[in-house]
Amino acid sequence: MNIKVEREPARTIVSLSGQLDTLTAVDFEKEVSVLLNSDEHQIVLNCEGLSYVSSAGLRLLLTLQKGMMAKGGTLILEKVQSPIMDIFKITGFSSILTIRQEEDLNKE
């Protein structure tokens, strides 16, 4: 699991690649905590390279979503691959997270 963080003036882009499971969630948890404790107000989570997510990862995505809302910020997920999207659909996360897919980007 790799986490890459790029801080731009208006937003922070976090790229996740590999597998977000019970073990690697520990690393992502640290990053989530840093993001929530900073003054970042717009976070884009690039999921292009993410191939696996377990409930430990979902727990952190929900924590991040709730935390960003609490400070009046936004969290946008991008480029979610279909196996991950299936897990989001099964768990209802597809309706509580803001997910912007390639086809949406093309419309802009």
Binding site: D21, T22, L23, S51, Y52, S54, S55, A56, L58, R59, L62, T63, Q65, K66, M69, S82, P83, D86, I87, I90, T91, G92, S95, I96, L97
Partner: protein, 137 residues
């Protein structure tokens, strides 16, 4: 019929053994990518649950994962000797709640139930026996 068993201890670090074990079994049977991720995920959720909750404050306890394949069905059995726990009795999460009302957590077992075609539980001889079946054809 292929059958193989992995014995591990109730430590989260052992999840990597579970992952490589199931990957090897999936490869041996020749299961498609999407299906294999679902099987791995269901197993991770169930085993994580056993590791975290079956043996409160006891380390070095045993659990086993058995995988059997026959006629297009992959059957996974997870056995522990911890406190009785029937995952089938856990209520499914309310997926209609808004983001601020959704509780953090409580999704693992639900995911496993959704991804596998069958999940059964029984308590026999002081053991929790959870059997999951995935149709892989």
């Amino acid at each position: 019929m292929i059958t193989n068993t992995l014995h591990i201890k109730n430590e989260l670090g052992q999840l990597s053994l579970v992952a490589s074990f199931i990957e090897h079994e999936i490869e041996t049977v020749g299961i498609s990518n999407e299906c294999s991720m679902q099987i791995r995920l269901a197993l991770e959720e169930v085993v994580t649950n056993v590791i975290l909750y079956a043996y409160p404050s006891q380390s070095g306890q045993d659990l086993s994962v058995n995988v059997a394949y026959k006629d297009g069905k992959l059957q996974i059995t997870v056995i522990d000797t911890g406190i009785p726990f029937n995952p089938m009795e856990i209520e499914d999460p309310d997926l209609t709640l808004s983001v601020d009302k959704r509780p953090i957590g409580g999704l693992g077992i639900f995911i496993a139930k959704k991804l596998m075609n069958e999940v059964h539980y029984c308590r026999t001889d002081g053991k929790n026996i959870l059997t999951m079946v995935k149709n892989v054809d």
